[in-house]
Amino acid sequence: MFNASLKQLSIQLAEKKISSTELTTEFLQRIKQFNPEYNAFITVNEEISLAQAKVADKMLATGQAGPLTGIPIAQKDIFCARGWLTTCGSKMLSNFVSPYDAGVIERFNQAGAINIGKTNMDEFAMGSSNETSYFGMVKNPWDIAAVPGGSSGGAACAVAARLAPAATGTDTGGSIRQPAALCGISGIKPTYGLVSRYGMIAFASSLDQGGPMAKSAEDLALLLNVMIGFDPRDSTSLQHDAEDCAQDLQKPLAGLRIGLPKEYFAEGMSQDVASAIEKALVEYRKLGAQTIEVSLPNAPLSIPVYYVLAPAEASSNLSRFDGVRYGYRAPAYSDLADMYRKTRTQGFGAEVKRRILIGTYVLSHGYYDAYYIKAQKLRRLIAQDFTEAYKRCDIIMGPTTPTVAFNLGEKSGDPIQMYLSDIYTSAANLTGMPAMSIPIGFGDKNRPIGLHIMGNYFKEAQMLNIAHQYQLVTDWHLKSPV
C-alpha cells in the first residue's frame, strides 16, 4: 500500500477496494509512528484530513472523482492553507494559522485530494539541508546521519519514507530537485509561471516555482496536471494552453538528443555521482537516445548570480514580517523601532538574516548597479546559453547534486559550501525553464543519487516522458528505505 503508485491508489479507490478515509487513516498512523524520528512534518491535523477524506469518499461514491480524489498529499509548509498552521519553517510564523488558501491548495482541494499534513522545510525555503528549520532538522530516511536536502526536505523525506504517497515542494534554486535527489525520489520544477505562486510564501519572487515530488515520473505527471493552471491572482501566472502532462509518457526515445554540458562534467562532481550518471546515460543510449556535448559558458556563474538576485528579492519580500498584523512579535521592546528589530532578530534564524543582509546590501545606494543589475545581465546571458544549447539538443542532462547527501551538521557552519550544493540546479530558476531529478542509483554510504533532466520552456510532458521511459527499464524509483 505504502509503495503503491498514485495510479494504483486511484484504481483501488475507484474500485472501492479501499476508501479515502482508510487510506488517510493509514498514512496518518504511519506519520504518527515515524515522524518523531524523521521530523518530516511540522503540522498534522487529523481532523481536517479526515474531514477531507469523508468528502472525497462522497465524490468517489457519486462518480465525481478525478485521478487524485481521495489521495493524501503532503503539503510543504510554505503553502498557505486555510485553518492550517502555516509556518514556512520559521519562528516568525510559528503561530500563523492561515485565513486563506494558496492557489495550489485550492487546486488540490478541488481535485478532492487530502492534505495529509504540512511538511518541514528550511526556514523561508532558504537552505539546502533542512537544517535551518525552526522546527528542527529533518533526517534522511536512507541514513539518519545524512541531511534530506532542502529546502523541501520534509517533503522529500515524507515521500521516501512512505509517510505520504506524494508531496508538493517549491524550488527557488533547487529546493525540489536537490532533496529529491538526496532522498532518492522524483521531483520536478515546472516552467516559471505555470504553477500559481498565490499563497506560496515568497522567497525570491522571480525564481520561486512550486512543483510535485513523488516516487515516479508517472506520479509527477498526475500531480502536475492538478498543479498547473492559470491563476488571475498571480501577475506572473501564464495563460498557457492546458496540456496533459501525461500525454507523452509512452513515446519511445529513439532519436532523442541529450545535451551534456561540458561545464557540468568538468570538475566538482564526486566519483560515485559521475559513475551513476554514466550508467544512466548508458541506459538512455540503449533506449535510442544519443548524447552530444553542449556548452553553457556562463552557467558556472549561476551561484553568484543567484546569491545576488535571490537575497535581494528576499530582503524585500521578508520586510512584511514586522510583528504588526500576524506572526511573532517580540515580548519586550522599548519603542517601535526596537519592536521591529527585536521581532525580526528573534523571529528569523541565522541563515534568513544572513540573506536579508546580503540582499539589503546589493540593493543599497551605490551598489545596485554593480550587483543587482550586473546579476540580471548575467541572468540573461545564462538564459541565452540554454536557448543556444537547445538548438542542438532536445534535453540537457547532468547530475542534480555534486555529491550524495552530506552529513547533518557537516556544512551548516559554512554557508558557501552549503550554497554550492545548488551549483547545478539554480540555473533553471534563473532561466525559468523546467528541470527535474530522478533517482538513478546509490553512491557513497549507499546514499541516493539523482539525474538532473533540464528542458526548454514548456517541455514538461517531454521531460516526464524521458524520465518515465527510464523508469520503465530500471527500478531505482521503486527502492525504498523502509
Binding site: 500563523f96 505562486r197 501577475s235 530582503s315 524585500s316 512584511r320 500576524y326
Partner: protein
C-alpha cells in the same frame, strides 16, 4: 540682497477607482477601521498584487491632458522602508519609467499666462493611517487606505512665489477633477501637496539647497508654509549660514515648519523593479481610446469662451474653474444664447456667491440652468428689473412656488412697469411735485436727475423699467 524663491510641487492625487490599485478591496472613504483591508492590503504571507486597469486608465487620461509622453513599457518598483502603516515593508511605486513623462500646465499668475513644466507622474499605492489617540502608550493602525491608487504628479521647480504655487496647485486640482480621475477632496486627503522650496540671489541661475515640506493639506497651508520656509531660509543665508537639505513638516497650529528628517538620516529606499509585477504595456490603441473620451480641457474651453463669447480672460477662467461650472454655464446659455454675458455675470455673481455661502457644489445648486435661464429671460425681455430678479432668484433658491419664475413674479408683484403712458404719467407727477429739483437740473445740476429717478422708482416700488424712466424723464426735462 534680493532673493528669488524657487518652488516645485509634488502632488499626490488619489485616483477615483472603485477598488484598490493591487487588490479588489473597496476604496470608499470613512468606513470602520480595517474593514476594507483584504489579505493583499494586509500583506499576508504569500499574497500577490494584480494591477487595476482603472488606475492605469486614469493615469493615461492625466498624461494626455497635460500633453505628456505615455511610457510603454512602464515599470513598477518597490520602495523599501519600514513603517507601521506600510504593511509590506515596501511601497509599490514607480522609479524608472513612470507611466507619465513630462507635460505642461498653464497657469494664470498675476494676469499673465505662465507655463509650469511637469517632470513626471507615476502610479503608486497609498499607505494606511496611524491613529495617534493614545491606546495606553500605543498607536492604532487602520489599513483601509492602504493600497488606494495614487498618482504622484511632480513639477519642475518653475514657480517663483507661494501665490504661483497655489495657483498651480489649484489649476492642477481643477484639472484632475475636470477629467474625472480624482475627487479632489482635500479634507479627506484625496489631494495632498508636498513643496520643494529653495531660495537664491536674484539673477543667479544655480538652484539653492532645497527643503521638502510635507503634509500640506490645504491651499492656505501651502501658501503659508512656503512663505514661512522661504523666510526661514533667507534669514539663515543672510546671517551667513547654510541651508541643510532636509524634509520638514508644516505645523499649522504654530504656522511654522520644523525638521522631520535630515538628508543624513534619509532612508536608503533600495528601489528595484517589483518581481511580482511585469512591465506595463500601454498600446497606442488604448491611448487613442482614452483620448477619444477625454472631455474638452479647461484651457481649451477658456480660450473658446474668450473667442466665441468675447468673455474676458478673468470671466472665462472663473467659468472654467470646474467642469461642472462650465457645464452649468453652457447649459444656461444654450437656452439664452443672446444673453451670454448676462448668464456669465449671474453664474459668477449670484450663483457662486450663494453656493459659497451655503458651502454647496454647483452640482447641488437648487436652481438648475434652465430655471436660471428662465429667470434671466425675464430680465432680457424687460418683464422684471435686475433688482427684482434677485428677489425672484432668492425665492427660487428657497424652492418657493416650484421655482416657477413667472409664478413668483406674479405672486410678488414684481412685474416691471414698461407701459410708456403709465411711466409718463408717473414722471409728470414727480416733476410736478419737485419743481426745485427740476429747476436745479435745468441750471446744470446733473445730480438732480438721479434724485428724480430715485423718486420715480420709489413711487413704483422699484417696478418701473429704469431705462424707460431715464428716456422719458430726459425727454420731459429737456422738452
Amino acid at each position: 540682497m534680493q532673493w528669488e524663491i524657487v518652488i516645485g510641487l509634488e502632488v499626490h492625487a488619489q485616483l477615483s477607482t472603485q477598488s484598490k490599485i493591487f487588490s479588489g478591496a473597496s476604496t470608499a472613504y470613512g468606513s470602520p477601521p480595517n474593514t476594507q483591508a483584504c489579505v493583499i492590503d494586509l500583506a499576508l504571507p504569500g499574497v500577490l498584487p494584480v494591477l487595476n486597469k482603472g488606475a492605469v486608465e486614469r493615469a493615461i487620461k492625466f498624461g494626455l491632458s497635460v500633453g505628456a509622453k505615455i511610457n510603454s513599457p512602464s515599470i513598477f518598483a518597490r520602495k523599501n522602508y519600514f513603517y507601521p502603516d506600510l504593511p509590506k515593508g515596501y511601497q509599490i511605486s514607480q522609479f524608472e519609467l513612470p507611466v507619465v513623462q513630462g507635460g505642461n500646465i498653464q497657469i494664470q499668475a498675476d494676469g499673465e499666462e505662465k507655463n509650469i513644466r511637469l517632470t513626471r507622474a507615476h502610479l503608486e499605492e497609498d499607505a494606511g493611517k496611524s491613529l495617534h489617540e493614545d491606546f495606553h502608550g500605543m498607536s492604532g493602525i487602520d489599513l483601509n487606505r492602504a493600497g488606494t491608487p495614487l498618482l504622484e504628479i511632480v513639477s519642475e521647480p518653475d514657480m517663483r512665489s507661494s501665490a504661483e504655487a497655489v495657483v498651480y496647485a489649484k489649476t492642477l486640482h481643477a484639472l484632475v477633477r475636470w477629467i474625472g480621475i480624482c475627487d479632489g477632496n482635500m479634507q479627506e486627503g484625496s489631494f495632498r501637496c508636498d513643496a520643494n522650496v529653495s531660495v537664491r540671489p536674484y539673477g543667479t541661475e544655480k538652484l539653492g539647497t532645497r527643503c521638502e515640506i510635507k503634509n500640506l493639506n490645504s491651499f492656505r497651508f501651502l501658501e503659508k508654509a512656503i512663505d514661512y520656509e522661504a523666510r526661514r531660509q533667507i534669514e539663515i543665508l543672510e546671517d551667513g549660514g547654510i541651508i541643510r537639505q532636509e524634509t520638514r513638516l508644516y505645523d499649522a497650529s504654530k504656522d511654522e515648519t520644523r525638521t522631520m528628517r535630515t538628508k543624513e538620516d534619509a532612508n536608503d529606499y533600495r528601489y528595484f523593479p517589483d518581481p511580482d509585477l511585469l512591465p506595463l504595456e500601454i498600446s497606442a490603441n488604448w491611448i487613442d481610446q482614452v483620448q477619444s473620451v477625454l472631455p474638452e480641457l479647461p484651457q481649451a474651453r477658456r480660450d473658446r469662451y474668450m473667442s466665441e463669447f468675447a468673455l474676458s480672460a478673468y470671466d472665462a477662467s472663473v467659468l472654467t474653474s470646474s467642469r461642472e461650472t462650465a457645464d452649468y454655464f453652457e447649459s444656461t446659455i444654450k437656452q439664452l444664447p443672446a444673453q451670454v454675458k448676462l448668464c456669465a455675470n449671474w453664474i459668477m455673481g449670484e450663483i457662486n456667491g450663494q453656493l459659497n455661502k451655503e458651502g454647496l457644489e454647483i452640482t447641488a445648486c437648487p436652481v438648475t440652468p434652465s430655471q436660471l435661464a428662465a429667470l434671466l429671460e425675464r430680465i432680457s425681455d424687460d418683464t422684471i428689473s435686475g433688482k427684482a430678479a434677485k428677489a425672484v432668484f432668492e425665492s427660487m433658491w428657497n424652492g418657493e412656488l416650484e421655482k416657477n419664475v413667472d409664478a413668483i413674479i406674479a405672486a410678488k408683484g414684481l412685474k416691471q412697469i414698461s407701459d410708456d403712458s403709465a411711466i409718463e404719467k408717473l414722471v409728470d407727477q414727480v416733476l410736478a411735485a419737485n419743481e426745485q429739483q427740476v429747476a436745479d437740473y435745468r441750471n446744470g445740476k446733473e445730480k438732480a436727475f438721479n434724485s428724480l429717478v430715485g423718486q420715480i422708482m420709489k413711487a413704483t416700488q422699484g417696478k418701473a423699467n429704469p431705462a424707460q424712466v431715464n428716456t422719458i424723464l430726459k425727454k420731459k426735462l429737456e422738452g
